[in-house]
Amino acid sequence: MSQPPVLDLLPTEVEADLRATVRGLLDARCDAAAVTAVYDGDRAVVTPLWQSLTRELGLAGLLVPEDRGGAGASAREAAVVLEELGRAAAPVPFLTSAVIATTALLDTDGDLLAELAAGERTATLLVPLSAGPQDPLPVLGTDGAGRVSGSVTSVAGVLEADTLLVLVATDAGPALGVVGASAASVVPVVSLDMTRQLADVTLDGAEVTLVLDEGEPAVRRALQAGAALLASEQAGLARWCLEETVAYLKVRPQFGRVVGGFQALKHRLADLFTEVESASAAAVNAAAALAADDPDLVVATCVAQSYCSDVAVHAAEEAVQLHGGIGMTWEHPAHLYLKRAKADQVALGTPGAHRTRLAELVDLPGASA
């Protein structure tokens, strides 16, 4: 077993400051009631919040080099942002636009990257939510005259995007193309997780600009980055569930005592604490590997994704259960986290898919091999 590098898993001062800033903004402009309203079709919270994050804080440019108009930060800072967005179940397209679409465009020329970094435009990649870095990808056909047609269902980030990235079939293989969202037929999907609502997208002879010949590696790299950083969102979500539940059980009385004093619940929360701490270590390691462009990145991502996906779901399920009936109600925010966690679990590759990939990487072949 070759040994991976020892990465710095502790936050820098810059990262700690960033965390405080983002949390402050989310506390002020992303309360649970506004997020819940999204489920009933009131998306008023989305655009102002996204504009604050991008135009005020410049977060869309974290992964973009300074000479391309970005902040020249790294995946570690993006991970901090995602942890906080997970904590708030925030309905903004940071992952789809500022991580995935942005990473796919890193090797392109033109202004789009800078416009994304500045928050002037928002993009998403036309793949189903569950597509992982190794999965088959939808490649759309052209008529040879720069017009692309085809459908992709269950895509995240479309409703918030003005720009769509598509893989376009060319003789030299799939190229990366850019299509204006207004040129697409977008049908919103009533989604289990409305904080990352899906949509079905159909292009019917839409005008496309090819921006990169080698489209497939760029898209896979983007999905790899997305998977590596999604773990931080999941870790942040899980930590909110733990902290909120602990806080509630410290004050909720039953049988003349606070519920948090009952040992069976204490032990479950201790186990959950163990999981949440572990998830955050795994997530920060994946982000650090991505930031360092380390060869261990794929292993680190498979580990973080398969672990954090299940921890987030478990934490949200425990939050619902341990809040008792109140956790089952629409008014209490626990359900926002349950839905987000369950959707995140299948996003960018299921835990099982990540383990299957891991098996190849670390030489633990299956039964038939």
Binding site: E317, Q321, W330, L338
Partner: protein
């Protein structure tokens, strides 16, 4: 054929002869059936029954069904039939039994349950709703929650605090409450599925005649426990292989070969085994009950039921991936008030969310584990600071 069955057949024939189902108004037939003792044969004569063992009911039901007789739609009055009726039978006065059981059984009067409160969930004895005596009536004030079917109910079983100076279990009294009283306000309680299966019920100066008290003053805890035991026994019946959530998920598995993976396969098989063992455990429990040996597995079975429903529905989402994230069937997230609870219906996302309630409603899994540990295994109870002190000093 036993003499009992022969006699039952004769009675059914007589009922049908006097009330041809094809020519008789539905309610009239149901009332006649009740009066003939064929409603629930294990109830006493005069109260819809004949004092026979419960298993004979199946004979009557099947004969009447064959004859095209109308049914009493038990699914519309689950609380009434499953909880109110046995409690009224056991604790009611003769007058109460005669007044309530017949329209309950025929479905003319639907019942709901006013037990839980925001501060009295698992700790049900902590009920804070007050009932104060005013001559021959009680004046009730408080807030109840988790009341299913309140909007359709004519009557409610109600637990209220009549003496806050007594320790909490001792100061409760059980009432039958008229839901049409102007002091009763019903608000739908929306849950994580988007639906409002349940309600909050606000009671403001609701007047309940003392004749609608069930059991003695201060005896409410004992009466309520009898009601709840009926609830727990009625949950978790799975007599067919692949019934319930495992059946749904197994069908999904068969329909979607493209989505199968080895890890999900083994998890599915484990759940299939668990479900089958759950079915067998239930079968044995029913055999014991039929022999008059109540088994201790009731609370344990509800635990298993909830676990399987949650794990299987969670697995289905992983299997279907983004297809399970389309929450599109029926009304999506629009708040509706469903006619009846459906654990396994709609789509995978709904099932996943709804199953979360299975370990909360009707006794949380945590409370059920306490019950198994203490009542079945005989382990010591929790330290109870509030047990012997006046309720008003402990209540929070």
């Amino acid at each position: 054929m036993s003499a009992v069955v022969a006699d039952l057949e004769k009675r059914v024939d007589a009922l049908l002869a006097e009330h041809d189902p094809a020519a008789t108004e539905r309610l009239e037939f149901l009332r006649a059936r009740f009066d003939a003792g064929l409603a629930w044969v294990w109830y006493p004569e005069g109260l819809g029954g004949l004092g026979l063992p419960q298993e004979h009911q199946a004979v009557v039901d099947s004969l009447l069904a064959k004859a095209g007789a109308p049914g009493n739609h038990p699914e519309k009055n689950g609380i009434g039939l499953g909880m109110a009726a046995p409690t009224i039978l056991r604790f009611g006065t003769d007058e109460q039994r005669r007044r309530y059981l017949r329209p309950l059984w025929t479905g003319e009067e639907v019942w709901c349950q006013l037990f839980s409160e925001p501060g009295a969930g698992s700790d049900l004895a902590n009920v804070a709703t007050r009932a104060v005596r005013d001559g021959d009536t009680w004046v009730v004030n408080g807030q109840k929650v988790w009341t299913s079917g309140a909007q359709n109910a004519r009557l409610a079983i109600l637990v209220a605090r009549t003496d806050p100076d007594l320790p909490k279990h001792a100061g409760l009294t059980y009432f039958l409450c008229d839901m049409t009283d102007p002091g009763v306000e019903i608000r739908p309680l929306r849950q994580i599925t988007g639906e409002a299966e349940f309600n909050e019920v606000f009671l403001t100066d609701v007047r309940v005649p003392d004749s609608q008290r069930l059991g003695a003053e201060g005896e409410g805890w004992r009466v309520a426990n009898a009601t709840l035991n009926n609830e727990r026994v009625s949950i978790g019946r799975a007599s067919e292989r692949e019934s319930g959530m495992i059946g749904v998920v197994s069908r999904t598995w068969r329909e979607r070969p493209d989505r199968r993976t080895p890890d999900l396969h083994d998890r599915l098989l484990r759940l299939w085994v668990d479900s089958e063992v759950f079915r067998l455990t239930g079968q044995r429990l029913r055999q014991k009950l039929a022999q008059g040996q109540p088994g201790p597995e009731g609370a344990a079975m509800k635990l298993t039921f909830a676990r399987i429903a949650q794990q299987a529905s969670g697995l289905e989402v992983e299997l279907l991936r983004e297809d399970a994230l389309r929450y599109e069937s029926d009304q999506g997230w629009t708040q509706v008030r469903p006619d009846r609870v459906d654990f396994t219906g709609r789509d995978a996302g709904y099932r996943y969310l709804r199953a979360k309630g299975n370990s909360i409603e009707g006794g949380t899994s945590e409370i059920l584990r306490n019950i198994v540990a203490e009542r079945v295994l005989g382990l010591p109870g929790e330290h109870r600071v509030d047990k012997d002190r006046p309720w008003k000093e402990t209540a929070r």
